[in-house]
C-alpha cells in the first residue's frame, strides 16, 4: 500500500509538472503582448514604448520562454509562488485567502448532492420502471440539463426576491451558503442519482444477491449489507473526482453569488493576464485535484477487500 502511494505521488508530480507546462505554454502563446497588458494595468492609457520595454525587462519577459518557465519552477520548488505582476499581492496568500470559501462551497454541495442522490438512486433502482422511477430519472435529467447560471439566478429570484428568505449574494454566514449550495448541489445530484441507480441495478442482478435472496435473507439486509456497499463504489469514485473539480472553484456559481473563492480568483487573473497568479492558481488546483483522487483510491482499498494495490498494478 505504501509503495503504491509513493508511486502515485511520483506520478502526480509528473502530471502536475505537465499541467504547469501546458498552462505556461497557453498563456505564453495567447495573442497579445503580456508586457503591454501588464504595463496598461499599472499605468493606464498613454503608455510609452519605453515603459512597455521596462516592464518586459523587470518581469523577465524578455528572456526565452523556457528560461521564464524554469525560473518560475525554481521558485515554486522553494515554495515561492511569487507576487501578482499586476498589483504585487502575494500569490500564496491570495490562494489561501480564497481556499476556505471554495472548500466550504465544495463540501456543502457535495454533501447535498449525495444526500439527494443516494436515496433517490436507490429508490429509483428498487422501484424500476414504476412512476416513481420515471419521476426520479426525469428530475435527475432536469438537474443535469439546467445550466448553473440560470438556476442560480432563478433561486435568487425565488428565495431572495419573492420569498425574502435568504440573501441574494455574499459570504460569511450559513444563510449565504444555502443558495450557492443548492445551485451546485442539485445540478451535481442529477448525475450522481443516475450513476447510483445504474450501479444499484447492476449489483441487484449479481448472483450473490440472488443467492442471498434464495437463502431467505430479508430484503433490507440484502440491500444494506450486500448491495449498497458494492453499488456505492463507483459513486464514491465519481464524488471524489467531483470534489477535486469543485475545489478548483465553481466559477459561474461563485460569480453569480459574489462568492470569494478560487474560481473567481482564477478567472480574474486570466482576464488580467496575471501570469504568475494564473500559474499559481492552476498549480494549486492541480495539486488539490490529484490528491483528492488519490484519497478516493486509497479509500477504495479500505472499503473493498478485493482491491489490493500492490506489485501487480
Amino acid at each position: 500500500m505504501w509503495n503504491y502511494i509513493a508511486k502515485r505521488l511520483l506520478l502526480i508530480s509528473v502530471v502536475i509538472f505537465g499541467v504547469t507546462l501546458v498552462t505556461f505554454s497557453a498563456m505564453y502563446l495567447a495573442p497579445g503582448d503580456p508586457a503591454e497588458v501588464i504595463a496598461f494595468a499599472r499605468y493606464g492609457q498613454d503608455l510609452s514604448f519605453e515603459q512597455i520595454e521596462a516592464v518586459r525587462e523587470a518581469e523577465g519577459l524578455d528572456s526565452p520562454a523556457h528560461v521564464q518557465y524554469l525560473n518560475w519552477l525554481g521558485h515554486v520548488l522553494h515554495l515561492d509562488f511569487g507576487k501578482s505582476v499586476i498589483n504585487s499581492d502575494d500569490i500564496l496568500e491570495e490562494i489561501l485567502r480564497c481556499l476556505p470559501a471554495t472548500a466550504e462551497l465544495a463540501l456543502a454541495s457535495l454533501l447535498l448532492s449525495l444526500a439527494i442522490a443516494i436515496p433517490a438512486g436507490i429508490v429509483s433502482a428498487l422501484r424500476q420502471n414504476t412512476l416513481l422511477d420515471s419521476a426520479c430519472v426525469f428530475t435527475s435529467l432536469l438537474g443535469v440539463s439546467i445550466p448553473n447560471f440560470w438556476l442560480g439566478l432563478l433561486l435568487i429570484w425565488l428565495f431572495a426576491l419573492k420569498l425574502h428568505m435568504l440573501p441574494s449574494f455574499g459570504y460569511g454566514t450559513l444563510d449565504n451558503l444555502v443558495l450557492p449550495t443548492l445551485t451546485l448541489g442539485t445540478s451535481m445530484a442529477g448525475v450522481t442519482t443516475r450513476l447510483t441507480r445504474s450501479s444499484m441495478l447492476e449489483v441487484l442482478k449479481q448472483e450473490y444477491i440472488v443467492a442471498a435472496r434464495a437463502k431467505g435473507l430479508d430484503e433490507r439486509t440484502i440491500l444494506i449489507r450486500h448491495a449498497l456497499k458494492n453499488a456505492l463504489l463507483p459513486v464514491l469514485t465519481f464524488s471524489g473526482m467531483q470534489l477535486g473539480y469543485l475545489l478548483g472553484g465553481a466559477v459561474i456559481v461563485e460569480t453569480i453569488f459574489s462568492w470569494p473563492g478560487l474560481g473567481m480568483l482564477l478567472v480574474d487573473s486570466i482576464f488580467a493576464r496575471d501570469f504568475a497568479l494564473v500559474q499559481g492558481c492552476v498549480l494549486f488546483i492541480a495539486v488539490l485535484f490529484s490528491l483528492s483522487n488519490l484519497a478516493v483510491d486509497i479509500l477504495y482499498a479500505v472499503l473493498d477487500p478485493r482491491i489490493r494495490y500492490g506489485k501487480h498494478d
Partner: protein, 524 residues
C-alpha cells in the same frame, strides 16, 4: 473492514443530514437584510461590480475601484455634475505663460483623514515620479515645486490645459503619510468626505464620514460598497433591499426597474461614445469613400432605440458626447441613406457583378472583419456588432465579427492587422479633449495619417485659451465627420438605480465618479 465501512457510511450520512438541515434551517431562519429589517440611521450600501484593485498612486486604479477612490481622495480641480470645472483642493489657478507653467493656490485649513495637514508638500508628493500618472498621461510634467505652504508650481515640457487633467479621480492628492519611511504603502489617506474603514477583499469596502471634512459634511455616516460582479444579481440585490444603490445597471433591466415601485432609476449621458475605428492604412478603409459609405449605411438611431432599448443617444458620427466640453451642438451629422452608401461604393469602384449581394473590385469581394473585445463592454457591443453586420450587408459589405480577448485586439491594432474595431471611450475623461489623439498619426490606433489633422490636434492640446480651444475642437469635429477615421455610433448613458429611501442623489456625467454630495436615507 465491516466496522470501517459502517463508520464511513455513518459519517457520510451524518454529514449529509447536517448539510441538508443547514440548508433547511437556513431557509427557515434566514431573513435577508432589508427584507423587513430596519435600516440603520444613515448607512448607505452600494453594489459595485469590481473590487478596488489598488489604493496607491503608483498604480492605475482599475474598474469600479475609482467609485470608492472618489469618496476617499480628492483632486485639486473638480467637476460638477454637468462637467463644469470647479475648485477642489485648489481654490484658484493661473498660468503666467500660456500653459507651460501652472500655479495652483491651495485651500487652507484642510487636513487629511489622519490629521496630517494638506499642504503644497502633499501635492508635490502626489505628482512625483513615483506616481504612475506622471509616467503616462502627465509625462509632460517636468517639475512640481512648493512655492510656499499653499502654493504649488507645475512646469510642463509643453503648453497644456493642466487643470482639465487634474480633475481625474484616479490621479488625486494623497497624504505623504500613506506610506512608511521606506515608501511602502500603509493605508489610503485622503482629504475626501469619507475615510477608509475596512475592506474584505472581493466582498466589501466600508468608508465612514470624515467629521473634519472641509466642505459640506456628508449626511451619510457610513457607506458600504458591496462587490457584486454579476449584473443580474446586483439588480436583484437592489430589489430585495440588500443594497440601497447599484451602478452599471444593464440596459435590458432599465425599463422594468423604471416601472417598479420603490426603485428610482437615474440616467445621464456620460463622456463615452461607442465608435467603429477603421484601419485607415490598408484597403478597403484607406479609401475615404468606403468609410463614408459605412457612415451612411449604419443607422445609429435604430441601434440606440432597438438594440440598446433606448439607452444612450444616437451619435450619427458625432465624436463628442453632447455633455463634453466643446461638443458642437450644431454639428452636421450623418443620417442613414443606403442609396448614398451604395453610390459611394460604386464611385470608389466597387460593384456587384456576380449578383451575390456583395460588391467586388478587381474580382475581390468587399469582406471585412469587425473586432469586438470580450471586455466590460461586450454585452453592449455584441448585439451592436450584429446589427451593424446586417446593415452593411444591405449595401454590399460582408462583415465577419470576431470576438477576441482585449490583449489580442490590442496586438492586432498595433500591427495594423485589422479592418474595423468596435470600441468605447478612449481618452474621454471629463473635460480633457485628448480623444482626438486616437486618430493622430503618432498613435497606434486608427493608423490614420493626415498632417492637417495632426497639426489641429497638437494645437488644440497645447492651447490654454478656451476660446481658441473651442474653435480648434469644432474644426476637429468637422474633420471627423468629413474624413471618418472612425464612425461614432452611440453616446453612452450611465445608469444608477436606487431604492426610493435614498434621497438627494444627483447623477453626474462623470464616470467613475459616484456623487454622494447631499445624499441621505429617509428611514421609514
Amino acid at each position: 473492514m465491516n466496522q470501517k465501512l459502517k463508520l464511513i457510511t455513518l459519517t457520510l450520512m451524518l454529514l449529509a443530514v447536517i448539510s441538508a438541515s443547514a440548508c433547511i434551517g437556513g431557509e427557515e431562519d434566514g431573513t435577508a437584510k432589508g427584507a423587513g429589517s430596519e435600516v440603520s440611521s444613515q448607512e448607505l450600501t452600494v453594489g459595485i461590480s469590481t473590487d478596488v484593485n489598488n489604493w496607491y498612486l503608483d498604480k492605475f486604479p482599475d474598474g469600479d475601484g475609482r467609485f470608492v477612490w472618489s469618496q476617499i481622495y480628492e483632486t485639486l480641480v473638480r467637476l460638477d455634475p454637468d462637467l463644469n470645472i470647479v475648485p477642489g483642493l485648489a481654490e484658484s489657478w493661473e498660468t503666467p505663460d500660456d500653459g507651460t507653467t501652472w500655479i495652483f493656490h491651495l485651500r487652507e485649513g484642510v487636513s487629511f483623514h489622519d490629521g496630517t495637514p494638506f499642504d503644497a508638500d502633499a501635492v508635490v508628493f502626489s505628482y512625483s515620479t513615483q506616481s504612475y500618472v506622471t509616467q503616462a498621461v502627465l509625462r509632460p510634467i517636468e517639475s512640481v515645486e512648493a512655492l510656499d505652504n499653499h502654493t504649488v508650481k507645475f512646469v510642463l515640457a509643453k503648453p497644456m490645459p493642466l487643470p482639465f487633467y487634474l480633475t481625474h479621480v484616479a490621479w488625486p492628492v494623497m497624504s505623504p503619510s500613506s506610506v512608511d519611511a521606506e515608501g511602502n504603502f500603509i493605508s489610503p489617506v485622503g482629504t475626501g468626505p469619507f475615510k477608509f474603514e475596512s475592506r474584505a477583499k472581493d466582498q466589501e469596502i466600508v468608508v465612514s464620514r470624515n467629521e473634519e471634512y472641509w466642505g459640506e459634511k456628508p449626511e451619510l455616516e457610513k457607506v458600504t460598497f458591496k462587490v457584486i460582479p454579476e449584473a443580474s444579481t446586483r439588480v436583484m440585490a437592489l430589489e430585495t433591499g440588500e443594497v440601497d444603490m447599484i451602478i452599471k445597471v444593464p440596459e435590458y433591466d432599465v425599463s422594468r426597474l423604471e416601472n417598479e415601485e420603490g426603485i428610482e432609476v437615474h440616467r445621464k449621458l456620460t463622456t463615452f461614445t461607442d465608435f467603429l475605428q477603421f484601419n485607415c492604412e490598408k484597403a478597403p478603409f484607406s479609401d475615404k469613400a468606403v468609410r463614408q459609405s459605412v457612415a451612411y449605411a449604419v443607422d445609429t438611431e435604430m441601434i440606440t432605440s432597438e438594440v440598446l432599448e433606448g439607452i444612450g443617444e444616437a451619435a450619427n458620427g458625432r465624436a463628442y458626447s453632447p455633455v463634453m466640453m466643446y461638443s458642437n451642438p450644431d454639428l452636421e451629422t450623418y443620417s442613414r441613406d443606403p442609396e448614398r452608401a451604395r453610390a459611394l461604393l460604386s464611385e470608389a469602384g466597387w460593384g456587384d457583378s456576380d449578383g451575390d449581394g456583395i460588391v467586388e473590385k478587381d474580382g475581390e469581394p468587399l469582406c471585412v472583419t469587425l473586432l469586438v473585445s470580450n471586455g466590460v463592454w461586450a454585452s453592449r457591443h455584441n448585439p451592436m456588432a450584429q446589427a451593424i453586420q446586417g446593415e452593411l450587408a444591405e449595401v454590399g459589405i460582408d462583415v465577419e465579427i470576431k470576438l477576441l480577448e482585449g490583449g489580442a485586439v490590442t496586438q492586432l491594432e498595433n500591427s495594423g492587422d485589422f479592418d474595423i474595431i468596435l470600441r468605447t471611450g478612449h481618452f474621454v475623461w471629463g473635460p480633457y479633449p485628448k480623444h482626438f489623439f486616437v486618430h493622430h498619426s503618432a498613435s497606434p490606433f486608427s493608423h490614420y495619417r493626415n498632417a492637417t489633422y495632426d497639426e489641429l490636434v497638437n494645437a488644440a492640446d497645447m492651447t490654454a485659451d478656451e476660446e481658441k480651444q473651442k474653435e480648434l475642437y469644432y474644426s476637429l469635429q468637422d474633420f471627423i465627420i468629413e474624413e471618418v477615421p472612425a464612425f461614432y455610433l452611440v453616446h453612452e448613458e450611465k445608469i444608477v438605480a436606487s431604492n426610493s429611501c435614498v434621497k438627494g442623489y444627483t447623477i453626474t456625467s462623470e464616470d467613475p465618479w459616484l456623487n454622494l454630495d447631499g445624499v441621505y436615507l429617509e428611514n421609514e
